[in-house]
Amino acid sequence: MTITQTADNAEAVIRFIEVTKTFPGHEGRNVVLNRVSFTIPKGRTTVIAGGSGQGKSVTLKLVLGLMRPDSGRILVDGQDVASLRRRELEQLRTKFGVLFQGAALFDSLTVFENVALPLRERTRMSDEEIRKQVAATLEQLELLGHEDKFPAQLSGGMKKRVGLARALQLDPEILLFDEPTTGLDPLMTNDIYRLFARTRQELGYTAVIVSHDIPKVFKLADQVILLNKGEVDVFASPGEIKYSTKPYIREFVEMTMNCEKTGATE
């Protein structure tokens, strides 16, 4: 396994090297990522922030091999995601748990079946063992009593919690969160963050959170990556952002401070 050291000497689990990704637009190609390089340290929480359309979700899809970069390399545990064969990619994905923006629950399956799906399909556990493990996770995420409901019968926050429960089933090393609090009210948002903090403390996974829920999400972050017009700025801690001299980051810091003030008055 290739080990790359990050600035704070943590082992790098994900590494972007000169990655470019473009999409067709009305006038030629829209450059979403322009030769960006950064690393994501193992066992830490990295927040990827930026405005809409700046490539936050694209970054996650590139990590998972759901999209290929136009150029550059993405290394996960030293393996170049774009060059992997189908089976190797499948193997690599077993390291990941993903909480999708819309939770991506299977509409035709109940809460229990959704959470049990990775165990049924990827392990040789007996029905009884699966039932016990799913019940334990549902209890951990405060979902007991909702096992027989279908996704359409759940609130937005509950769907996210079911998505998190499903993502945790195979004991992932890296958990990717795509906008985990979008569309939730402040109470549900806090609820998700509380459950995230608790499960991360208990399970110790590497977390990558893509979010525009600023500044709240920074409270969870060890490292922050800001995406803006195809370029990235990496900060070893959320506190470092305010020392940046770049105009867009200055504007960003002011906006964040305004948000904090508004939050304080609320």
């Binding site: 067709p24 006038e27 030629g28 190609r29 899809k61 998972l64 759901l66 499948e90 193997q91 994905r93 077993t94 990941f96 748990g97 993903v98 999708f100 923006q101 819309g102 991506a104 629950l105 299977f106 509409d107 799906l117 990775p118 399909e121 990827r122 499903r166 195979l170």
Partner: protein
Amino acid sequence: MQRMPQSDIPFLLRPIARLGDRTIYVLRDLGRMGVFLMFGVAGVFKHPFRFREVVKQLGFIGAGSMAVIFFTAISSGMVLGLQGYYSLHKFGAEGMLGSAVSLTLIMELGPVLTALMVTGRAGSAMCAEIGIMRISEQIDALECMAIDPFRYLISPKFLAALISVPLLTAMFDVVGIFGGYLAGVKLMGVNSGAFFSSMQQSVTNHDIRLGIVKSFVFGLLFVWICTGRGYFVQKIRGAGFGAESVSRVTTQAVVIASISVLIFDYLITAVML
């Protein structure tokens, strides 16, 4: 592949550029669909076999289509009986009605109409279901859990279609012949013995084999096109986004599948007859 903006291309060359662009798009789309077919078929043989899902799909594609197939078959058979009687009566050859009705149904109408009805009923639903799963990231979620979406989602539909369509076609043939019998013998007074003996004399194993081959090919065609268009809903140019893209692609899938059935009907007949 990078597309040049239209404004960068000299005015007179734009039609050629558009033609080239369209050709490349169609070739890529065909390639994508070819790989999809390969994975869809291969997924049938992958472990673990999804028996329950195959049974569920057999119920949906097969048992669920029986009523539609019954009514289509009985009406087609009765129309054939009446039309056949009208034509044959002119030559005093009403006794050949059984032969005309059964050959037309077994070799042509049975496989084609069954495929068209199943495409309209089950193919459209499959395309919409998979398209919605694609746009709501459910297929991405499967891939992220290292669950092969072909084995889990597509291949059970392939297998169920390959079992259901030939059986539905056989049912169509029997019900259609009964419809022809009703119209020709019971309504128009053709001799019952002549009806069945002409059928027995003219229908050969080769004719039945032709019908079975057609039904297998049509079954594969409809399930491949309908599931494939749904699977690639986000890659289809001009389909738009969200719910609109699913509705457009579903319509497109049904049209392409129906036309393909008719084209392959001619090709198989030309090769096997």
